[in-house]
Symmetry: C2
C-alpha cells in the first residue's frame, strides 16, 4: 500500500488532467471549489505526498535555508540555531546546517555544497579564519539572499544581525573601571572577526575615556579555546603590572580562567575582577557568579529566520535593511563586586 502516488494517478482517478490536480493541490484560484474539494479528498485518501524533487526542479526553489556556523557545539550557537529552526519550521522551511569548524577551507566547501543543494537563502556566521569572501559572492551574484549573524562581514546587499559590540565592550570595561580596576587586560577572540574587534575597540575607548593608558600588553588575542587556558594564566601571572581586571570575550573561557586562577591562589573578585560575554549558563553556575553581557542568542536566531523568510516571501526587502542591532545588557554579578 505504499507505492508512490503521483498527481497522474489522482488525475486518472478523478478523470481530470494532472495540471488540474496540481493546481487544485496548490489552491490555485482558477480551479472550482468543488473539484478542489474532490482533489483534496482523494489525495488524502490515496496518501498522496508531493514529490519535492519534482516540485523543486520545476520551481527552481527548495524551501530550504542553508546555515553555516563556526561550530555546532557551542551553547550560544545552539540557542541561535534553536531560534532559527523554530521560525523556519513554523512556515515549512527546512534547515540544512553545516559547521566550518573555524576553517576557511571548510566554510568554502560548505558554501559550495549548499549552493549546489539549491538552498533558497543562506545564513552565515563566519569562521575565525575566513579572510576571503569569494565563496559568498557566488550567492549574491545569483541573487540568493545572504544574511550574516554574529560573526558578520560587510558585503554589499547582505544584511547583518548582531549586537552593538563596541558599546558592549565599552560598558563592560567601564563597569570594571567603576568597580575599581585600573590595570586591565582584555582577552579577545581573533581580531579579524569584527565582533571581537569591536569589543576591543569599545574596551580601548573606555580606557581612554577614563584616562587609563593602553598598550599592547593590555590585550591578549586568543582563539578562546578552553584547552589553552594555561597560556593565558601564565600571561596574567607574568605580567609586569598586577592585573586587577579582566574583560574576557567569552563566558566559557572566563569561567575556565576563574577556575584556574582560583587554583593558583587568586581570589576573585578580590584580586582580579572579571567580566565575561554572552551570558552562558556557566556564568551563573561558577562561583563567584560571573558578570557578563547578555547576548540574546535565541532572539537573534528568531530574527535572522524571520528576516530571511520575510525577504523570501517578498514581504520585506532586506537590501534596504542593512544591519539589525539587538539590545545587549550588562549583568553585574559577583565576579566584579567591590571588595572592602
Amino acid at each position: 500500500m505504499d507505492k508512490k502516488v503521483t498527481i497522474y494517478d489522482l488525475a486518472a482517478l478523478l478523470k481530470v488532467s494532472p495540471a488540474t490536480v496540481s493546481r487544485g493541490l496548490n489552491n490555485h484560484p482558477s480551479i472550482s471549489d468543488s473539484t478542489k474539494k474532490r482533489i483534496h479528498t482523494i489525495a488524502k485518501e490515496q496518501g498522496y505526498r508531493t514529490n519535492k524533487f519534482a516540485a523543486n526542479l520545476s520551481k527552481q526553489k527548495s524551501n530550504t535555508i542553508g546555515v553555516i556556523v563556526p561550530r555546532l557545539d557551542s551553547y550560544f550557537m545552539s540557542t541561535v540555531l534553536a531560534g532559527i529552526e523554530q521560525v523556519a519550521n513554523k512556515v515549512g522551511y527546512n534547515l540544512i546546517i553545516s559547521q566550518s569548524l573555524e576553517s576557511e577551507e571548510k566554510e568554502k566547501i560548505n558554501a559550495r555544497t549548499l549552493l549546489n543543494s539549491g538552498v533558497d537563502a543562506l545564513l552565515v556566521s563566519l569562521a575565525n579564519e575566513t579572510k576571503d569572501y569569494e565563496h559568498l559572492k557566488n550567492y549574491t551574484s545569483r541573487k540568493i539572499p545572504l544574511l550574516f549573524f554574529d560573526r558578520v562581514f560587510n558585503l554589499p546587499n547582505c544584511p547583518t544581525i548582531l549586537i552593538d559590540n563596541r558599546a558592549a565592550g565599552y560598558e563592560a570595561t567601564t563597569h570594571l573601571i567603576s568597580q575599581g580596576c585600573s590595570n586591565l587586560l582584555h582577552i579577545s577572540g581573533r581580531l579579524n572577526r569584527s565582533v571581537y574587534k569591536e569589543r576591543f575597540e569599545g574596551y580601548k575607548e573606555a580606557l581612554q575615556a577614563h584616562n587609563i593608558p593602553f598598550d599592547d600588553t593590555n590585550l591578549l588575542e586568543t582563539d578562546l579555546d578552553s584547552t589553552k587556558i594555561k597560556t593565558t594564566i601564565e600571561y596574567i601571572k607574568n605580567s609586569n603590572v598586577k592585573i586587577d581586571g579582566l574583560f574576557i570575550s567569552s563566558d566559557n573561557y572566563a569561567a575556565n580562567c576563574i577556575k584556574e586562577l582560583q587554583k593558583q591562589g587568586y581570589q576573585i573578585p578580590r584580586d582580579i575582577k572579571i567580566i565575561g560575554f554572552n551570558n552562558d549558563p556557566v556564568s551563573e553556575i561558577i562561583s563567584p557568579n560571573l558578570s557578563t553581557i547578555e547576548y540574546p542568542g535565541h532572539k537573534m536566531g528568531v530574527l535572522a529566520g524571520e528576516s530571511i523568510i520575510a525577504h523570501l516571501n517578498g514581504t520585506i526587502n532586506l537590501q534596504s535593511t542593512n544591519s539589525i542591532l539587538l539590545r545587549h545588557q550588562l549583568l553585574e554579578r559577583e565576579s566584579t563586586q567591590k571588595t572592602i
Copy 2:
C-alpha cells in the same frame, strides 16, 4: 556570466550527447578517458554545477539525512550534532535538522516534512512526550533507514545507539552508596523514555544489591527543566528522612540543584552527595566539581552518522546490528567526596 550551465550546454560545446556528458561527469566506465577529460575541463571552464533538483528527481535520492532532536539548545545534543555533521559533511551528505521541543505533535510534523523532503535516512532522538510511533513507521514501511540515538525506542529493524544506561545508573548509585550515602533520591527525567527508565532501574538494582529499601519517595520524576528547580528543592527539604545522596539524570539540572541547595545552607558534599549525568562542561565549573557519568556525545554522533551512511552505501547492513552500546565512564569528583 552566471546563468545556469546545463549538461546540454556542455554537450553542445563538445558536440557529444548530454548522456555522454552526464556519464563523463559521473566517471562512468564506458566513457573513454579522453572525452572524460574534455568533459571535466569544459565543465570547470564553464562553471558547471549539477542541478541537484534534477539529479534527485531522476535518482530518487537526495544525499540528505534528516535529524530530529528534542532540542537544539542543549550541550549534549549540540555535541552529538557536531559529530553527525562532521562525518556527513565529509562524504557529501547534507543534514536537515529539526527539533521537536519535546512535543509529540511537532515530532510528527517534522517527521512528515522530512519524509516529504525526501531524506535518504532519518536519525531520531525522541521527544519526552512521544508515545505513538506511527509517524516513524512511514519510514520503515518505505525502507528508509531509521536510526535512534540516545532517546531510543525499539522499533523493528531500527538500530539504536546509546550507552548502557542501566549499568551507568547502577554504577552511579553504587558510587554514592560506597561514599556513605544511605538515603538516596533519584531525580529522573520522564520515565517513558527508556534512557531515564533504565537509569532508574540501574538505581533500583543498586539499592537492592546493597540492601537499601526502595519506595516511591526515593524517586522524583521531572522533566529536568532548570526553571523548576525550586519544586525539586522543596521536595528534598520536606522529605521525611534526611536525604544524603542525589543521583540526578542531568548535569545541568544537578549543577542548578547544587547552587540552590547551597543557597539554602546545605553543604555539598558534606550534607548531600550528588552525582550527575553527561559530563557537561558545567560539571567541571561548578563548585564542588560534579561527579558524573561521562556520556560521549560527539562520539555518538560520529557513530550514528557513520552507521547510517555505511548502510546507505550498502557497506554494512544495519538491520543486523540492532543496538550499538557506547562505553560510559564514572567520573568521581568533589561532589561525592567523603567528608570526615
